[in-house]
Symmetry: D2
Amino acid sequence: MVNNNKIINDPVHGFINIPSGLIQEIIEHPYFQRLRDIKQLGMTNLVYPGATHSRLIHAIGAMHLMKEAIVTLRSKGVDIDSSEEEASMCAMLLHDIGHGPFSHTLEHNILRGISHEEISLAMMRQINKEKEGRLEKTIQIFEDGYPKHFLHQLVSSQLDVDRLDYLRRDSFFSGVAEGMIGHERIIKMLNVHDNSLVVEEKGIYSVEKFLISRRLMYWQVYLHKTVIAAEQLLIQILIRASELVNNSVDLPGSPAIIYFMKNTFSREDLNNKALLDKFALLDDNDFISAIKQWQSCDDKILSSLCRDLTMRRLPKIVLSSEPVDYEGSDGSGYLVRSGEVLNSGYDIKGEYIGILSKDGIVRNIYDISDMLSAKAFSQVTKKYFLCTAKS
Amino acid sequence: MVNNNKIINDPVHGFINIPSGLIQEIIEHPYFQRLRDIKQLGMTNLVYPGATHSRLIHAIGAMHLMKEAIVTLRSKGVDIDSSEEEASMCAMLLHDIGHGPFSHTLEHNILRGISHEEISLAMMRQINKEKEGRLEKTIQIFEDGYPKHFLHQLVSSQLDVDRLDYLRRDSFFSGVAEGMIGHERIIKMLNVHDNSLVVEEKGIYSVEKFLISRRLMYWQVYLHKTVIAAEQLLIQILIRASELVNNSVDLPGSPAIIYFMKNTFSREDLNNKALLDKFALLDDNDFISAIKQWQSCDDKILSSLCRDLTMRRLPKIVLSSEPVDYEGSDGSGYLVRSGEVLNSGYDIKGEYIGILSKDGIVRNIYDISDMLSAKAFSQVTKKYFLCTAKS
Amino acid sequence: MVNNNKIINDPVHGFINIPSGLIQEIIEHPYFQRLRDIKQLGMTNLVYPGATHSRLIHAIGAMHLMKEAIVTLRSKGVDIDSSEEEASMCAMLLHDIGHGPFSHTLEHNILRGISHEEISLAMMRQINKEKEGRLEKTIQIFEDGYPKHFLHQLVSSQLDVDRLDYLRRDSFFSGVAEGMIGHERIIKMLNVHDNSLVVEEKGIYSVEKFLISRRLMYWQVYLHKTVIAAEQLLIQILIRASELVNNSVDLPGSPAIIYFMKNTFSREDLNNKALLDKFALLDDNDFISAIKQWQSCDDKILSSLCRDLTMRRLPKIVLSSEPVDYEGSDGSGYLVRSGEVLNSGYDIKGEYIGILSKDGIVRNIYDISDMLSAKAFSQVTKKYFLCTAKS
Amino acid sequence: MVNNNKIINDPVHGFINIPSGLIQEIIEHPYFQRLRDIKQLGMTNLVYPGATHSRLIHAIGAMHLMKEAIVTLRSKGVDIDSSEEEASMCAMLLHDIGHGPFSHTLEHNILRGISHEEISLAMMRQINKEKEGRLEKTIQIFEDGYPKHFLHQLVSSQLDVDRLDYLRRDSFFSGVAEGMIGHERIIKMLNVHDNSLVVEEKGIYSVEKFLISRRLMYWQVYLHKTVIAAEQLLIQILIRASELVNNSVDLPGSPAIIYFMKNTFSREDLNNKALLDKFALLDDNDFISAIKQWQSCDDKILSSLCRDLTMRRLPKIVLSSEPVDYEGSDGSGYLVRSGEVLNSGYDIKGEYIGILSKDGIVRNIYDISDMLSAKAFSQVTKKYFLCTAKS
């Protein structure tokens, strides 16, 4: 019998089946393939040099966990048909498709005021057109418009397979053991109750551990001081380069990066295939390559900033739990910045993580955990930073 | 050059060097070798069948982590000479030497009222005699009588290398990913301040994770309901067998097990080499072998209890956070028991885990963690159980 | 929906599903549960102290790989119905059920002249009676009497899931990285051709690696000199103890061990449930417990041999590739023995491992591997040893 | 005490100490930092998407294994002083410093006829000048001019720490378990005899496994058909782009990539700091960014080739063990190429891997291995390929 499935070797999850049909078609799509050249963790490899993994492998890993979750739910009698399975898996492949390079840093600098979620949705709609509507169900699940709400929760909620994959994966590649979670166990404990995703009672400790691991990964990896410093420097570089470009200075750089520095867009533009195609040309290489070249440009400020980043002469970062007074400049206007970073933890206002007891009652984990502090739950931890030139 | 070091292959830590001299002599001692036949986790393999690892490999692993900790501390300028290194490593080899088979279950049934710590110390003193005083420093460190207090803390405190090894190891062999801790990172963050062991500030998240992992391992592994049920059954078997033996019933069993069921001892007896030697003959095999044989003894109660354990017809356990009223019997007097289990977590009254800030101040992790709940810290979690016959 | 499947946490393969029905019943059977107290690698933990894993967890792991293999074959269009799946999985659970304690050492000393395969089959037939014939298909597959020959090959051949599990598992627990094989990849490459199991062409390197890893595990672990020495000592102990028992000396020991030392059996006795039940009472504990007690028995030879084993004063082993001349005694008759060990590698006379090329032709790996030596293939490596008292 | 060592978290080896002084200075040097943007395995991530690790982390990992090897050798009485230790570690950091982007593919297309080893040496000499001669000993060890020959062998021989790191690392990131080697064990078995590096006898199986794993990694990863196809396409792109550039066509691209396409160099030019600095500006980003832009250039051939690579429409590769007849063109001159790939295995003509027996004799592993085929040893496996346009 002919078997057109493909297999991908993932160091994190082992062999991953790639079923033929729509899933393979999406993986072949240029919008998806560009994720190969976008690092999942941006400049984090400055601190954790193993963390060079791409958004592409994360998307495939998350798709794999979706499949695992569906197998578990079916074994417990939850009805999920094969078209729903495919649509949910496609939703995982595409959930981050709208991320640009260094997305968490540059989100508001490339397509100003437009979030990556909006771009993801626009790209899905564009692919859907090309595929003659075969992504309808995927989009419904992504947008929470599909009757089986729990499928949306698997894609996007406080305990979705996105988070299960990225914590495990970022931990694997960075070498930070603190992020190891029992994702296999959590998936085995999933169930559906009243059309909502729940975790069976004996999985509660694994969920607590998941929440804590996530938090630790934030402080230790995602919000590492050196990473924040590099990101701040990158933002300053982009701001300065944009100023120059918009003042008719002729900077070297790929057509794509120059285009997005020169133009501003509105939400409506996202309906424009040509714009999406242009956006899809942007990846990490455009930025790194441009910054290397700008080291020797005529503008003293830009060249100096770019040399600092390349040589890793990063600004000094002071983190504090109190807002930083100083908002200003050291004269140049580029070398002092303050800001804040959030480690949002568990959001008590949003849709909660439900724990299903043996007697069939679902409770918010917030109400029944005796390990996690109220503070850990109820409050966003915000840290303020002041970022100044190195010496 | 001749090199008499030996190497042991440990699946958890890799190759472990066993320096020649005192350390090898202790490992060869019969008191130590008996740990080979005592499972670290007693009957836990009924639930987690991979968890058959011995106390011997844990003791060697803990010795290895002690060496790693000493290497780290020295690299930070802490003065530890080679005799202190050897003594600290010996203390780790011997810290659990007094454990009997199924120790957590039977501690108060074999040598009534004498803790395994007391037996450990007695055995150390006996070996010290045989080695003509070469274990003096080891015993001082173990008893906290040595001037360098931090060496004792590495052996026994709320963040000692014993815990670092057993959490990692029990997680490895049971397959419970929740117990994975970043023990390498914690060790790298250790330092000494005012003669006390501290963790450098940027290790705080790893310590939080360690505390939580420990707690999760308690609920998920050490205090697993099925394990408690089997332990309760084992206790009942021992009580009944002791009654019979002390009523002159002739039960089969190794001389050692019969001896300890027939006799009672006081603390003073621990000075008696002959008793220690007898105790050193006891291991898991004596108990499992006896229970198999008692299945067909004449006493209906004992044979029935032993068959239940062998066939894994375990009593029913109900855990609750409220004390269980019922204390009594179902007529037979053997099949209903209540009791409690503790998950002690972080002890806020004991010697705290100190976090050393960059400005040189040491703070209790209890005061500065914003993740762990006060409850998680301040309160022992006690659960009560009622244990009744299966049907 | 009620779901009576169980899940076992295996540190090697992760979560293993235990389907309800026959599979769970077999696992609960006393013949199977006894494997919990029989170490897969006998006395190997003297050298590799982590290697204390039981035959029980290996049997369950092998059953899991059988399931994985079936899933792969089905995805390639091979027809395997659910009763065949269950029967194949049961065959893996039971394939080693007839092993006694220290089986490779004592096979010919406990039930003389009867192999563990014969006992396995007898036990399967006994369980089949108890289960009213529900194991018929299992036995057919095990005995190669079932039309789908490839199912038998999965159970027992030169590339069966038994070997895939034990190499991976023994490597994991011993810490010997050399035994790591790509078992996942090999399973993904399995296919069926002309009713025979084959490996697809691009799996050839993994098969070569598997053959080499197996060989390395033999020299490094299974046939480690110290392990052979301890086994030879154990054999001498059993021989001496049997002599005494059969000369009416009253040795301590469990009824089961004494019974098998006193009596001789023929193949016909295997039809006798009572004998099988007795055999099923024997496990590692009987031997270790007896040996400890025999240390202080009156017979000087036996007590001395037992003390040697307990204190790990092992005989000296000289391995050579030439037969050892000396066959005799040093006067006591017990302290010099010669013998041989085999590392059989790939058997070129038996059923070969077939490699399926893209054009549909199956070739013997022996004919197409350009890496492995003819010697590695064509010749059993035999080593001779001379085992003398330590002095 | 102040401790200026740094620690890097490596997912493969764990925490790696970076001693202060020369080692840290080299890591900070721009020549070294550029390795961060050069993937160790070039385009292999097209097949194994996890394999995005950089040459930088490999160099650091190899330095770490050098340290481990030195610790082992010292423990066996080999005299290595601290300056030799530092020099050997620096040699590992710098051993691959001359690799350009996609080095194995483009080596002969960027600096024609100059090998990466020559560039490495030139860069070392340049850094040595900047560091006022502090790299003398490093260069001597690298060039095998230092009296302690075994240090050179650790850097570069058939069993050097370079290979130990890259096999383990490439296996880790690609997820190909076949490449797992027991590098820890091999290092523990190293010794020095007559000023040469040898492996102690009981490490022979690990060395056999190492040779086989290396070979398997070649066929399964390094010479994977899809990777060869992509590399062939990349070569064609570079050839065509160079033709255009040298015919005064104005192609977009970073100054560095254009410069190296336009100019030819001789060995003497390597003494020129300015050239080395230019070369050090080249990394993966320049190529990927250029190829993206060339997709829309005016030259039909170049734009088509670039679109093929971006869309992964790779040429068809036929591998055969016979030379491929056809050398020509399909009319365009760009779409048919033949060539060969080598899997060189163990080189019997070069300096052999010596195995040290207990009686102090060193033998070539070739003469004493009974597992590996003569062919595996004596013969380079060469495969020929024909590479044609996809459709």
